[in-house]
Structure formats: structure tokens, C-alpha cells
């Protein structure tokens, strides 16, 4: 193939394409597709010893898992987690994206370095916020007292709802710059002429946002909502390292419950069953979101 021209006609690149794709696609097949299929077979078995297949159990694992309140409780917690993150991150990211879309000295540096919170390891995010929120030496309590928002130090992880709120804010702190950069890309695709025409017609900043930015940003927001839902549903480490699902199960999302079931209680079959149900729900949700939200936006 040494001296062949670049393009040898339609369908003529099949052999080279195969050679190039066999390793990357083979790896993805072995580590993504095979495990996904075997998650289903594992969920149908009663595995007690690692390395043994265990007897076939039919739908017993599903019956046990779905008949147990902990699964539904964790699903509810996951819904709160996903919705909370979507709301907080969208607000923060949209604000940041609008700011970064302006021209000001240093904006090019800001557009790159805003993503700083996203490139640092989760375990570092955990250390940072555990310390900042701790009663010994943490900066957040004194700052909130100084600003007059609270009048005595509060326990950010003392109750279920408090811990959930803290977790959502911390996770959003980590993720909002990533979303902001994606939104910024969407903002920059809106032609400047439209804004200038609107400004000539006397539309103020807020009117321009409502009439131009918001509607034209809908496709980007839709994609990010679906992506964000899948990504934040998956988040495990930040929750596990900060609260481990506590206090009293108040932050026990489905991934935390699945992890505990598999690697603390060693009930692999049950955990696999839960993860299969969770994926079906997530894929269903993604499809519904794309289907329900998309036509309305394009019709506008």
C-alpha cells in the first residue's frame, strides 16, 4: 500500500480502514460492549464466590431488588441529585458563558483557565471542600457569618438534606466550567449581526438575551442537559468520599448503592440487576428528553 494515492474511490479504503480500526474498536468491544452484555447474564445468576459463575437464578435478583425499598429510595435520591445538579450547573454555567462571551482584558486566558476546577482530581475536590466546610479552620462558615447569611456555624453534612445540598453545590463547582465552555461554543455560533441589528432597533441587553440568545441556545442546552443528566447520574467518587451515602442514606444514590451491594456486601447478582435497571431507566430518560424537548425547540 506504499505508493497508493490518497483516495482510491468509493469503498476502496475498506482494507486499510479495517486495519486501522481493528484495535481501537476491538478494545471498545471487549471493555464496553462485552461487559454490558455480561451485566445482563450476571444479573440472572446468583454469584457468591468471585471467579465462579454461580447457579442460574432467573429473575430472582430482579424480584428481590425491586421488591426492596432501598432500591427505590436510592432512585429517589438519584433523581434529586440529577435535577439539583442540572439546575445549579445550568444557572452557573450560563452566567459564566455569558461573561466569557464578552470582550474584556484577559478573556482569552479566562476561557482556558476557567476549566481549572474540572481538571483537578475528584479526591482533591473532596479534600478542598471537606476542609473549607469543616468547623476547624474552614473558611466558609466564618465567611457566611461575616456576610450575615448565617449567625452561627452550620454543619454542612449534618442532615440528609444539608449533605445533599452541599454535595450538589460541590459537584456543580467542579462541573459548571466544563458546561460553560460548551455553552460558550454555542454562544459564539450565534452570528453577531443579529445582535447588532437588534441593538440598532433599540433592544436592550435583557431584551436581546430573551429574543436572540435564549432561543438560539436551546439546541446546545438540550444536548448538554441530556449529557449532563447521564454524567451526573454516574457520579460516584465525590459522593462516596464525602458522605459515603450518609447520613442515614440521605445521599445514597443508585451508583453508591450498587457499589456497596457489589463490593461491600458481595452480592454481585443483585448489584448487576440494579445496574441493568438503572441503565434502562437512563437510556429511556435520554430518549424521552431528546424526543420531547427537541421538536418544540426547532418549531420556535
Amino acid at each position: 500500500m506504499a505508493s497508493k494515492p490518497i483516495s482510491s474511490g468509493r469503498g476502496g479504503d475498506g482494507r486499510i480502514a479495517f486495519l486501522l480500526l481493528v484495535v481501537p474498536l476491538g478494545l471498545l468491544a471487549a471493555t464496553l460492549i462485552v461487559p454490558m452484555v455480561s451485566a445482563i447474564t450476571i444479573s440472572l445468576r446468583d454469584i457468591r464466590v468471585i471467579g465462579s459463575d454461580g447457579p442460574f437464578a432467573g429473575l430472582d435478583n430482579y424480584a428481590r431488588v425491586l421488591g426492596d425499598g432501598t432500591f427505590w429510595h436510592a432512585l429517589g435520591i438519584s433523581v434529586v441529585w440529577v435535577v439539583g445538579n442540572a439546575v445549579v450547573q445550568t444557572i452557573l454555567a450560563l452566567t459564566a458563558a455569558l461573561v466569557l462571551n464578552e470582550k474584556f482584558p484577559g478573556v482569552r486566558v479566562a476561557r482556558v483557565w476557567i476549566i481549572l476546577t474540572w481538571i483537578i482530581p475528584t479526591v482533591v475536590v473532596v479534600i478542598i471542600w471537606r476542609w473549607l466546610l469543616s468547623p476547624s479552620g474552614g473558611m466558609v462558615n466564618p465567611l457566611l457569618i461575616q456576610l450575615g447569611i448565617i449567625d452561627r456555624p452550620m454543619g454542612f453534612f449534618a442532615s440528609g438534606p444539608a449533605a445533599m445540598t452541599s454535595l450538589i453545590l460541590i459537584n456543580s463547582w467542579r462541573w459548571f466550567p466544563f458546561v460553560a465552555i460548551m455553552l460558550l461554543a454555542g454562544l459564539q455560533r450565534i452570528p453577531n449581526d443579529i445582535y447588532e441589528a437588534a441593538a440598532v432597533d433599540g433592544a436592550g441587553a435583557i431584551a436581546r438575551f430573551r429574543a436572540i440568545t435564549w432561543p438560539l441556545l436551546q439546541p446546545t442546552l438540550l444536548v448538554l442537559t441530556v449529557m449532563g443528566t447521564l454524567l451526573s447520574f454516574n457520579v460516584f467518587d465525590i459522593i462516596w468520599l464525602l458522605t459515603a451515602g450518609g447520613p442515614a442514606g440521605g445521599t445514597e444514590t443508585l451508583p453508591v448503592l450498587i457499589y456497596e451491594t457489589a463490593f461491600k456486601a458481595y452480592r454481585m447478582g443483585d448489584a448487576a440487576a440494579m445496574s441493568v435497571v438503572a441503565s434502562v431507566l437512563m437510556i429511556g430518560l435520554a430518549l424521552v428528553l431528546l424526543d420531547r424537548l427537541a421538536p418544540k425547540e426547532t418549531a420556535r
Binding site: P121, L132, A199, Y259
Partner: protein, 275 residues
């Protein structure tokens, strides 16, 4: 568009608030890692250090397993980044430069695979790796990290391939350079920004990865930073000085890496829309 004094004021306040939100926590952690223990846990925290010590770094580097975790992480992250770049280049060339049957379908399939919850494949991967003896090996982590980074990397490659006119390669072909020579001498040098973007993405992703590392690695000597550091958090009484020093050192490599290639990463993330 013209901006009045009020506009400038609002913008300036927003920029400052944003900078504070992102940078203040980093500043506090970085500077506090040099404070004496009693200043770190003082009831009235200080924005600017009043004491200076290297004792936390000394303890971290001399008496804890942190250096081992750090080296393991560098090894795993660098290998993952390298393999991801090679595989993404191969796949990128096939998807964005070649014509073959089923190309679009395959490409879409890869993107869909990314949407599945990672927790679903955790259990099967663990059982599968246990069967073939990959548990407690660096290779296991590299395989998993590459798998997670690859689909997104192929997606990012699209922008960089699209930014290069095919005429360049065609011209080289006319000059008598074969396909292989064209790729090595023309395409790859021009794709450097894309390679940088993928490398930093894969490096960061594996530098951060906790879930699989916590399950697939068993012996302490093979732990990577996230799991190792989280073990230090859990130990007896929390030694904040030690943790803050560990946190600061863990951020350092990705920040240095990012300083060189960060803008290419943002370009790849946004399909080149952000200038």
C-alpha cells in the same frame, strides 16, 4: 457592541465573582499547605499565611506512601494518554479520511456506547479481569482509562481533521509520497494541536479516575493517587496539613500540562468555536 459605564461595572463584578469562585479555594489550599498546623485549624482562618513551614511536604514525601502513589499515577496516566492518542489517531484517520461501508454507523455506535452508565460495566469488568488475572495490574487501569477516554477523543479528533484541507495530503501524494509517508510527515505534524488536546484529556481523566482504581487495584504499592490519597483522608485523626500538601502536589502535574496545551483542549472541546 458599545458598553456603557454600568455595563462595565456589571461585567467587572461578574468576572471578579467568577474568578473568586474558581480561584479562592485553590489559593486557600495552596497557601495553607505551608502554614503551621495550628494556623490551619484556627477558628479564625487567614486569607494570607502568617506562618511558614515545609513540614507537611516533608512528612508527605518522607513518611507517607504518597511518592509511590504519585509515580504510579504518572505511569498509568502517561501510558493511558499515549495509547489513547495512538488509537484515536488510527480511528480518526479511518473515520475522517477514508471511505468504507458502515463508517457512519460505526462512528455513531461509538458515540452511543459512551452514554452507558460506567457503574454498569464495573461489575462485569471486575469479574472478567479476575478471570484473566488482570486484577492488581497497571495494565487493567490503562485498559479501562483508554476505554473511557477513546470515544470522546475520537469525537474531538473530528475538529482537528476537519481543519486540515485534504489538498495538503493530495499534494504530497502527487509529489510521490506514499500514504504512510504523507501521514507521518504531513498529517501528524499538522495534527499536533489535536494530539495535545487528546493527550491532556486522557491524562486528566486517568489522573482523576477513582471508581475502577479502587476496585481493580488491591495492593497498596500499586495504588494510584486518588485511591491512595483518599486512604490518607480516612486514617485516624485528619491531618489537614498533610492532606493540603498532598492535594497541592496532586494538582501540580495537570496544571503544568494544562498550561502548555490547555488552549488546544478548549478548542477541541468546543469544535474550535471558541477563539
Amino acid at each position: 457592541m458599545k458598553r456603557g459605564p454600568l455595563g462595565w461595572l456589571v461585567l467587572a463584578l461578574a468576572v471578579l465573582a467568577l474568578a473568586f469562585l474558581v480561584l479562592a479555594p485553590m489559593w486557600l489550599v495552596g497557601t495553607s499547605s505551608f502554614k503551621l498546623p495550628r494556623e490551619i485549624i484556627n477558628r479564625v482562618p487567614t486569607w494570607f499565611p502568617r506562618s511558614f513551614t515545609l513540614q507537611h511536604y516533608q512528612k508527605l514525601l518522607q513518611t507517607s506512601a504518597f511518592p509511590t502513589y504519585f509515580l504510579n499515577s504518572v505511569l498509568v496516566a502517561a501510558s493511558s494518554a499515549f495509547v489513547t492518542v495512538v488509537l484515536a489517531l488510527m480511528a480518526g484517520y479511518a473515520f475522517f479520511r477514508l471511505e468504507f461501508r458502515g463508517r457512519d454507523l460505526l462512528y455513531r455506535l461509538i458515540m452511543v456506547a459512551y452514554a452507558f452508565p460506567s457503574i454498569v460495566i464495573l461489575i462485569p469488568i471486575y469479574l472478567m479481569f479476575a478471570k484473566v488475572g488482570l486484577i492488581d495490574t497497571d495494565l487493567a487501569l490503562v485498559l479501562v482509562n483508554v476505554t473511557f477516554a477513546l470515544p470522546f477523543s475520537i469525537w474531538m479528533m473530528r475538529t482537528f481533521f476537519a481543519s486540515l484541507p485534504r489538498e495538503l495530503e493530495e499534494a504530497a501524494a502527487i509529489d510521490g509520497a506514499g500514504r504512510w509517508k504523507t501521514v507521518v510527515h504531513v498529517l501528524i505534524p499538522l495534527l499536533r494541536p489535536g494530539i495535545a488536546a487528546i493527550a491532556i484529556f486522557a491524562f486528566v481523566a486517568s489522573w482523576t479516575e477513582y471508581l475502577f482504581a479502587s476496585v481493580l487495584i488491591i495492593s497498596d504499592a500499586k495504588r494510584t493517587l486518588p485511591v491512595g490519597l483518599s486512604g490518607i483522608i480516612g486514617q485516624y485523626q485528619i491531618d489537614w496539613g498533610l492532606l493540603l500538601a498532598g492535594a497541592s502536589l496532586s494538582v501540580l502535574p495537570v496544571v503544568v500540562f494544562f498550561a502548555f496545551v490547555g488552549r488546544w483542549f478548549v478548542a477541541g472541546l468546543t469544535e474550535g468555536a471558541v477563539k
